[in-house]
């Protein structure tokens, strides 16, 4: 049991307001860790610290045992793939341009890029003909799939998704949840996922980390949250997902 990513005593404030209180968190290799919690609980800030987009005020971040610093972050990020809520696709590049951006920058030859794209498109159930389309010509679900292809392009050790499905309609969302789970299982990738949807967290995650006001309230499985809530807040958070018990346990 190794930790791919380790956050030790990290904290961060914005303009004097603490977003994350000092906390320690490990992300085990090959598993999906879900940061779950209400808006403003600090889960997105925590995710950004993992990628080096936000620098912790205290503590340190270790990725594959190496200290993540502003100097090392750009190189380390090529071993990570990030999918943002809106997809974060560059509107001036077509699908291929977006997905192959870094590979081209690193000097991959075109045959290798083609081959990799073909595998990934099939993996996320996209047809080859989307390659020449621009983000503006894609549906929301297609955009998230392309964004996932871009994140997986360099075979990263870690994939991070920040509310990646949050803006999608329920049907597209559940389809993508299926595809994400299948993809991550097949690739054995380590995943960190941020969501405020406990159902999604339960479906995709091996370990759930429930955050509130920048602090970890409980770590465990969805079942732990339901059966053995750490405090009254966990109970309330579980109960707030109204339809959840009937749907997932029905």
């Amino acid at each position: 049991m190794t930790d791919l990513l380790l956050l030790e005593g990290v904290s961060r404030s914005f303009g004097g307001v603490p977003a994350v209180h000092p906390l320690t968190l490990s992300v085990p290799s090959g598993k999906t860790t879900v940061l779950v919690g209400p808006s403003g609980s600090g889960k997105s800030t925590l995710l950004r610290m993992m990628v080096g987009l936000v620098r912790p005020d205290t503590g340190r971040v270790l990725f594959e045992g190496r200290l993540l610093t502003p100097a090392s972050a750009p190189d380390e990020r090529r071993r990570m793939g990030l999918v943002l809520q809106g997809g974060g696709l560059f509107p001036h590049l077509d699908v291929e341009g977006n997905a192959a951006l870094v590979a081209r920058y690193l000097g991959w030859d075109e045959a290798r890029i083609r081959a990799r794209l073909r595998v990934l498109l099939e993996r996320v159930r996209l047809k080859d003909d989307v390659l020449g389309r621009y983000p503006a010509e894609l549906s929301g679900g297609q955009r998230q799939r392309v964004s996932l292809v871009r994140a997986l392009m360099l075979e990263p050790a870690l994939v991070l998704l920040d509310e990646a499905l949050g803006a999608l309609d329920p049907i597209t969302r559940s389809e993508l949840q299926d595809d994400l789970r299948a993809t991550f299982r097949a690739l054995g990738t380590t995943v960190v996922l941020v969501t405020h949807d406990l159902g999604e967290a339960a479906y995709l995650g091996d370990t759930l980390v429930l955050l509130r006001d920048g602090r970890v309230v409980q770590t465990g499985t969805a079942e732990d949250f339901v059966q053995r809530p750490a405090d009254e807040f966990v109970q309330r958070f579980v109960r707030a997902q109204r339809a959840l018990p009937e749907v997932t346990r029905g």
């Binding site: 987009l53 190189d75 943002l84 560059f90 001036h92 983000p135």
Partner: protein
């Protein structure tokens, strides 16, 4: 040493003698006369017409941007030597020599400053002398801007005669005549050889306190350009132009709208100095010349504005604090009146295209810098994060992501800059840069609408063409993906 000297003289002789003139008709006619007199002696010469006021011409002469220009003794004494030297030839000769300038010819007439009123008004109010004006404080005055500012101008005159009038404004000399004709004011300064004196039936008020110094017309010649041939050619004009000749030539230019080149050629032919007919380029040739000048002014300054403005805009976006300073600085440049900016360049760059290009360059910076900055800082937080999270180097992010995303804004900035430059470049003619401003300047001076439109219409069309050209360029430069309107892409 003597070999070098000969070589230097040879080079001087090969380069055309540059004759300048101020931005009023008599000066242009005299510049034309001097140029043609040189050409008649087989000396290459060019006339840089309508360059501005005394300071600009004199500075250009001292700097070596010009070799010859027509001037007046009184102006030299008052303006150049700040009344430290009397307006006599005996005093001016050595003073000029000390500055490397000589008098190549005394032309034979004087053109003194005078105050003028419409004959009927003056008669009605019983005004004959400048002293008489003191009895009519209600009279409105309008003076040429140069007269308002110069040493022997309005302030000195007001003191000398104790004039009480407070309603005094400055305007272009030629516009002042129009204002006088329409009754916008009653008194203006004028030159005693002006064609309008006769044309508008003006009364010249007697300078009863002999305030205005003598203004004998002469040609100044830079010593370094004073080869024996040039000296000989210009000395043929010595004493050849009478007061009557000058008024007649001014009237032909202003009233009959005869081109100065023709007037000068006719005059020199009548005096037996030059027999060649005037060579006036046809309208098409003329327009092509203006267009070429104009495009060079706009093209070079715009290129500079882009080459400097783009990096400045990137810098401003990368370093928000220093960036505010950069934006403020280029913003201040933009607030300077373009004419002032143009004239401010002359001490550093002389006359001609250079100061105009420098001024246009500074003027064109703001839109490029501001739009580059706006384009880059306007990139959404998510795209910025996505770019950073991909692990591209800052340079790669700039070139592959940020600049393409900002390209519509940057292009719009360059377009604005280009259109501003096309319009502002018309002022370049004031410092001898040519372009479509030249016919506009001449048109205003001669009150010739046709000539004015010859510059104004093409300049406006050029601005439209530039505008359209950039729309076209946008189709190639702005990435296709940015021209699509997506469902929730903004």
């Amino acid at each position: 040493m003597s070999g070098l000297h000969a070589l230097a003289l040879g080079l001087l002789f090969a380069a055309p003698v540059r004759v300048g003139s101020k931005v009023f008709t008599e000066s242009v006619v005299l510049g034309e006369v001097a140029t043609r007199a040189l050409l008649a002696s087989s000396i290459p010469a060019v006339h840089r017409r309508e360059l501005g006021g005394t300071r600009i011409l004199w500075d250009a002469l001292e700097r070596g941007d010009l070799d010859v220009y027509p001037e007046y003794t009184g102006t030299l004494a008052q303006e150049i030597f700040a009344a430290q030297v009397p307006a006599t030839l005996e005093a001016l000769g050595p003073a000029l020599a000390a500055r490397g300038v000589r008098i190549a010819a005394l032309l034979g007439f004087s053109n003194t400053y005078a105050l003028g009123m419409k004959e009927a008004t003056a008669e009605h109010l019983g005004i004959r002398t400048i002293s008489d004006l003191a009895r009519h404080p209600e009279l409105r005055f309008a003076f040429s801007n140069e007269f308002l500012d110069r040493g022997d101008g309005w302030r000195a005159l007001q003191r000398a005669y104790g004039l009480p009038q407070g309603n005094v404004r400055g305007m272009d000399h030629d516009l002042a005549y129009r204002g006088l004709a329409t009754g916008a004011f009653e008194v203006t300064d004028l030159y005693s050889t002006d064609a309008e004196v006769k044309e508008l039936d003006l009364r010249l008020l007697k300078d009863d306190k002999q305030h205005f110094p003598d203004y004998q017309a002469l040609l100044l010649l830079r010593e370094a350009a004073a080869t024996p041939e040039v000296v000989a050619a210009l000395s043929r004009l010595q004493g050849r132009i009478t007061q009557r000749d000058m008024v007649a030539m001014n009237a032909r230019a202003k009233v009959d709208r005869v081109p100065e080149a023709t007037i000068a050629a006719d005059f020199l032919r009548a005096r037996g100095i030059d027999s060649a007919p005037p060579q006036l380029p046809g309208r098409a040739r003329r327009m092509l010349g203006y267009l070429k000048d104009h495009l060079v002014l706009v093209g070079v300054s715009l290129l500079g504005a882009v080459l400097f403005g783009l990096p400045l805009g990137v810098f401003a976006a990368r370093r928000p604090r220093l960036g505010q300073g950069v934006l403020a600085a280029v913003g201040v440049l933009q607030t300077l009146p373009s004419l002032a900016l143009l004239v401010l360049m002359i001490p550093f760059l002389g006359i001609g295209a250079k100061p105009a290009i420098a001024a246009l360059f500074l003027y064109g910076l703001l839109p490029v810098v501001r739009n580059t900055h706006a384009g880059l800082t306007g990139i959404s937080g998510e795209l910025r994060e996505a770019a950073e999270a991909l692990g591209l180097s800052p340079r790669a992010r700039l070139w592959r992501i940020e600049l393409p995303l900002a390209s519509p804004s940057i292009l719009a900035g360059i377009q604005t800059s280009a259109v501003i430059c096309v319009g502002t470049a018309t002022l370049g003619a004031l410092v001898g840069a040519g372009g479509f401003g030249q016919p506009i300047l001449t048109g205003i001076r001669l009150d010739n609408t046709g000539l004015l439109l010859e510059g104004a219409v093409p300049a406006a069309l050029l601005a439209l063409a530039v505008q359209g050209g950039f729309e076209l360029v946008g189709r190639f430069v702005v990435p296709r993906g940015l021209r699509l309107t997506g469902p929730d892409e903004t």
